[in-house]
Symmetry: C2
């Protein structure tokens, strides 16, 4: 039985949630780090594993599995270890609803804002023509457009404003959900907490106007509980800076 995870450093967002799920579950795995600034995820070797060229991919006994939310439930079902889904069925429904919301709403808004900051740095010293050649290799049309807009800094400003507005709504919703309970879906720690940490953990520094002592005390207490977990500490210890492009 082999388990391999293809992921990006620094650990967070989509890579982070699958990485952390494996750690929480106690599954040993082979780290297959892809060098983002070298665009290894768009190279023929990785596209043979994941034709969408998206990260992460879990490879279990030679068979690839993609899409974070579905992969994390798979990990919980396929391996021994502490359960990461609540036993109570209503709490489990709540977990799936939160994972969907984190994925579709928080994740998308965060990624839009993040890409706009990071893509111009990511491409290093390449010429515009070289960058366009790389972007043309992105298999998904929407993602290709998002990367191009981010590189050229042409994302419509109203889209960024709208993403920020949605994240403010999400911040209030999260704070309300964490009032009176240790974890997002009640007394049981779950995949929803893992998801949220990886898309939301840097909010106190990125969006201090949303996550601070007065606006979000329960969220900050939850973040402290998360960071104190052995698996999260392990993930932090294995987190590296973004690698430099090799050229």
């Amino acid at each position: 039985m082999t388990v391999e995870l293809y992921f990006f450093q620094p650990l967070g967002s989509n890579s982070g949630r699958v990485f952390l799920t494996l750690l929480e579950k106690g599954v040993g795995f082979i780290e297959r780090e892809l060098i983002g600034p070298d665009f290894e995820h768009l190279g023929p070797e990785y596209l043979a594993i994941n034709p969408k060229g998206q990260v992460p991919t879990l490879v279990h006994d030679g068979e690839p599995l993609t899409e974070g939310t579905a992969v994390c439930e798979y990990i919980d079902e396929a391996f021994e270890g502490p359960p990461l889904r609540p036993a109570n069925l209503r709490a489990r429904w709540s977990m799936r609803r939160w994972c969907r919301y984190i994925d579709n709403e928080i994740g998308r808004c965060v990624m839009m804002i993040h890409w706009n900051r990071i893509v111009p740095v990511f491409v290093g010293a390449r010429t515009p023509a070289e960058v366009e050649q790389i972007i043309a290799r992105v298999p998904n049309a929407d993602r290709r457009m998002a990367w191009r807009n981010a590189y050229l800094q042409k994302t419509p400003p109203q889209e960024i404003t709208e993403s920020r507005r949605r994240l403010a709504v999400a911040a209030r919703r999260i704070e309300a959900a964490l009032t009176g309970g240790a974890w997002l879906c009640g007394p049981d720690f779950s995949l929803a907490d893992i998801d949220l940490l990886n898309f939301y953990g840097f909010f106190p520094s990125w969006f201090p106007e949303l996550v601070n002592d007065s606006a979000a005390p329960n969220t900050l207490a939850w973040l402290n509980r998360m960071e104190a977990r052995a698996a999260v500490r392990d993930m932090r210890a294995r987190t590296r800076r973004r690698p430099e492009p090799s050229r």
Copy 2:
């Protein structure tokens, strides 16, 4: 133990998939039809059950559950009856991946095109000012904008073109997935088939250029298998025309 389902007629899309899941599982339930053209889903009584004013809602022992994909998994876990998720864990991962794709991609594109056809009919003889009053009650900002654009027939034409392009991609992907297997995720019938039928069952008549004998023979064979199922025949027998507005 009581199970109630709030839904719209005619049965299909979001209402249809939860309705059909209950029938496939053999769960008895109380039908709570909401009259869409009377906007009962935006009235105080329903908003007390589902503050988002979206349909359907399952109420199990007095507690509401929303979001189709999560509700359908809940039904499969909470009630006795034939399993609606594959026993094989990789097929189950595939099921969740398909449900997500049907929800986020096919469902969204279909709804956009559908709303543009239906909202102007839906509002009946109301004046523009009356319609605006109703639309202003839609709790979700995105949905409010989509309804307003559909009513005023102001949806940007390129958005409709883009939705049609995406549905053409989806049609090819579905045809490929159904090649050589009876059901969407392999040998086991699953929630992915239920989802797909409800968002896709009318494609042969709506989009004959995508789903026809030469382009999609496997899809049509699958549709025939679906329509032959006892639960689907039962759903069809319980399907009513869209009610007329009461004023």
